[in-house]
Symmetry: C2
Subunit: 221 residues, 2 copies
């Protein structure tokens, strides 16, 4: 069923509200978002916004969903390009992820910390994040089948440890040097060393017995 003019217009307004809200969050921080400021920048009165969002938390929820979709899209796009050793793939993937977070610090705070008292994302808003976790799990499972990850470790543990490391880089970078860009990022600079350490620990040194014959170049050093 096609959307009529009114529905389309409504969706456009909602997008505009979210654009401006994201802009304010980027300037003032997640908790600095104010309904009045959104209305001011849109040239309308605050109560008019309640036609589109029943509460400020509903607005945060929509922003959470949007951020999760954006990062899911960014990661899904480069997933197919991942080649090379375990270490190379880890590094490329984490660089994309952390790079996005550094470029979108406000979204990152909303997605990965809990800065708004009383706000918890709904299941719908969380869905893209779950899909991203699923994608990453599938990727690690494939790496193990291909013999790039040791066969004697649980994928869930490898994934948990890797997310700890990436979220540590993000957390340190955003908290201690929020104004550094991707090139300057002093904690992002730790990533190659950490990826090497991680690959040395969890990477397989030869194709495993379960390899399906399409293993990429494993780190054989």
């Amino acid at each position: 069923m096609p959307l009529d003019r009114r529905q389309r217009r409504r969706l456009e307004t909602i997008e505009e509200v979210l654009d401006i809200a994201a802009e304010i969050m980027a300037e003032q921080g997640v908790a600095g978002l104010s309904v009045g400021e959104i209305a001011r920048r849109m040239g309308i009165r605050p109560p008019s916004l309640y036609v589109y969002f029943p509460s400020k938390n509903a607005l945060y929820d929509a922003l959470f969903a949007r951020g999760a979709e954006l990062i899911l899209a960014a990661m899904a796009e480069q997933r197919s390009d991942l080649t090379g050793s375990f270490e190379e793939q880890l590094l490329a993937s984490a660089r994309a992820f952390i790079g996005w977070c550094i470029e979108h610090p406000a979204y990152s705070q909303l997605l990965f910390w809990r800065p708004v008292p009383g706000f918890t994302p709904t299941a719908e808003a969380y869905a893209p994040a779950v899909r991203l976790l699923g994608l990453t799990t599938a990727w690690f499972e494939e790496l193990q089948s291909d013999g790039l990850i040791r066969a004697d470790v649980a994928v869930a543990d490898v994934l948990r440890d890797w997310t700890v490391i990436t979220s540590g880089v993000i957390s340190q970078q955003l908290a201690n040097a929020p104004d550094e860009d991707v090139e300057a990022g002093r904690y992002l600079a730790a990533l190659p060393g950490l990826a090497a350490m991680f690959a040395a620990h969890y990477g397989a040194t030869r194709p495993s017995a379960r390899s399906r014959g399409r293993a990429r170049h494993a780190d054989q050093r």
Copy 2:
């Protein structure tokens, strides 16, 4: 110069304000702290608090200083007890640190994230955090002198990588499972594996040439 009755009474009141403020932060989150709520629980009017703190941010600053002092004290206390291999010392130290953070999530948010728009800690409030970093640096330097850390790596890099890992555990634990205690903490459970990985990468396998003859039991496996 001893404090007279008035000054002592004033300091007691300030301590009471901070106690209650920390209590509210623990219940409502960092951003959920309200001056009015503090006054309500103390049985006074909000403006009275401005005798002790010139602004809400000054209050956050005092809380930041207090949290930093608390964690510095917790870490300094157990530092002298650290013995054993590099891996064992890493694990014991990080467990103490992360355990404190899990038990004091509100202080941790204030100390390690940036949840309050417009608030940046003053240099005085930051001082204990700097001292803690200094303590940890000295500890790592000692470990290197004792031959437990490879002689060919910079202590600053080892320290940066280790803080990335510990802050990753804290970040994941507080964001994804804030209600789990220290025993249940599913991300804290990743710590032994991560410490083993880290020690295998940066730990020395034999006492270095620079050992001062008081090396502890190095991991010789």
